[in-house]
Subunit: 336 residues, 2 copies
Amino acid sequence: MDSGRNMTIGDIADALGVSKTTVSRAISGKGRIGEDTKRRVLDYINEHNYRPNMIAKGLAQSRTFNIALALPGDYNLEDMSFFQKCLMGISEIANSFEYDVMVAVIPSNDTSQLERMITNRKIDGVILMRTVFQDNTAAYLKDAEVPFVAIGSSDDRKIVQVDNDHRAACRELTSILLMRGIRKIALIGGNQSHVVTHTRLNGYLDAYKEMGLAVDDSMIYLDVESCVLADKIVEELLARKCECIIGMDDSICNYVLNKLKKEKIMVPQDIKVASFYNSSLLENNVPSITSLEFDVLELGMETCRTLLDLIDGKPVKARALLGYGVSLKESTQKMS
Amino acid sequence: MDSGRNMTIGDIADALGVSKTTVSRAISGKGRIGEDTKRRVLDYINEHNYRPNMIAKGLAQSRTFNIALALPGDYNLEDMSFFQKCLMGISEIANSFEYDVMVAVIPSNDTSQLERMITNRKIDGVILMRTVFQDNTAAYLKDAEVPFVAIGSSDDRKIVQVDNDHRAACRELTSILLMRGIRKIALIGGNQSHVVTHTRLNGYLDAYKEMGLAVDDSMIYLDVESCVLADKIVEELLARKCECIIGMDDSICNYVLNKLKKEKIMVPQDIKVASFYNSSLLENNVPSITSLEFDVLELGMETCRTLLDLIDGKPVKARALLGYGVSLKESTQKMS
DNA sequence: CTGAAAGCGCTTACAG
DNA sequence: CTGAAAGCGCTTACAG
């Protein structure tokens, strides 16, 4: 079928006795062109299965039809489940616009790989997989004037953001627990430099305030990133007769569950457990774990749409906030 | 610092009073060029931080400096941990050769996204994340004459492969268990269409043969991909006084562990458990789980090196087999 | 409505 | 050793 070299716009022009300009216009739809000429070209293209060389097109238009996904190097397993779903969403949208997705690994703020992509002129825009305080990747991108959108929230209103409404979600889950009469609710969170850690914390605080209840600060633990640390905190909480432990994400929740198991503490009989974030990690747990739910596929799709608009110079919302769900399971059930 | 437009090879030529050809040669190192001229150009480039436009370079050389990672759409969590480490390895090597990595999602044998990348002339080669029987992605790639290498093994000697030695690894772990006097060892495996499932099975069979022991076929279960099915099998195995359950991968092992927990069967007191594959999923389990260990980062790096060589037309090994480790933990300990 | 020509930023025979 | 010119496969003012 293939006759050696790939078909070019020139081959089509020759075959049809028109100019390359005309072929180009028929394909792009830009510029005036006769309806019948256009049809002839398009028919020929369909019949002969011509596909344009996007590299050449890109060079002529100074664009690449590539976007980069900036992937933190410290991603853990449950982040990966997020990444995976997000990627599926991003990839689907990108694909539908003939865009491709490259991944740039950013190990602890080392943006060199991303910089190379950009200085090599290989991408048109970037998606940041998460927001952090003092984000030097974002700073670099702003400085280099590369279009980008962040998944997550940021104080910097110059950064285009797409996020789920974590604050409202965490408020709602906490409220539900409070309304059930549970009072001593501990909150264990992860890396403080991640914006979302504070967003979730704020949701938790909102719930207490809303109910007119005082928060016991000593029940809040942040920067809990190791199993060892989580173990110690759980011991402390058990000694203090804590009624419920909320993990800000699944890996924390997993630490907590393992520790409780080791100590032979029953969930939900002896203590309740919930998570501010769900992944398949907890889905099949025994008992099943109450958690928040986010449509990560849609998050990815919306983010990609936003970036593509941004690249095309279309107006975009500075900040889009997507919804959430609360999934009540066995781990917070009242045992009578 | 930036004076609007990006610096080109022409700017350098003008500044130095030489031709673009000379600049190009100094950069690429190809063609005869005077040592001092070369130095002058290189110095200028360093000083002014010039970076070539890889798109233009690619167009001139009919290459893209991109490779694609073909990612199955049915990836589960533990696959993602594999993917992540692999990606880090691939990305590191690719990056060091100024190559970038695109991801192509392949939902259940639908290669359309990959085809688009290829017909759009956006990539120079492909890495297949796993091998399956009757692989239509590989078939397409062979047909399209796109350089590619598969992570995993295949009967098709035309396919360049890089893999860990799963067969020897599984043989060794099984042997160790047999030598400890454990006889009724059940094996629960996943998707049969994945080549690695059979490779692992063969390792298990090798161990029995080596010891001159008969295999009880009824202890071997394949295509176990749901929690429900795994639960039923575990019940069956418990009724049959099985002494040890090997999961072919971590997600299966996880199903098994959850079921045993539900049934209040103690590991390793009542039954032993091992996994033919490790990920962080099992690492922190209580008790810790005996498993095989593979250096996935190195696997990714070696695969990428191979693909890059293949693209450059250098000779490559048709099949590279990397090592493994056996990690004995609490879950197979003898309880006296 | 259509085309010739210049251009995107490189590389590479071909001459000298 | 160095350079002018053509080419990679598109797009896009500019003319007609």
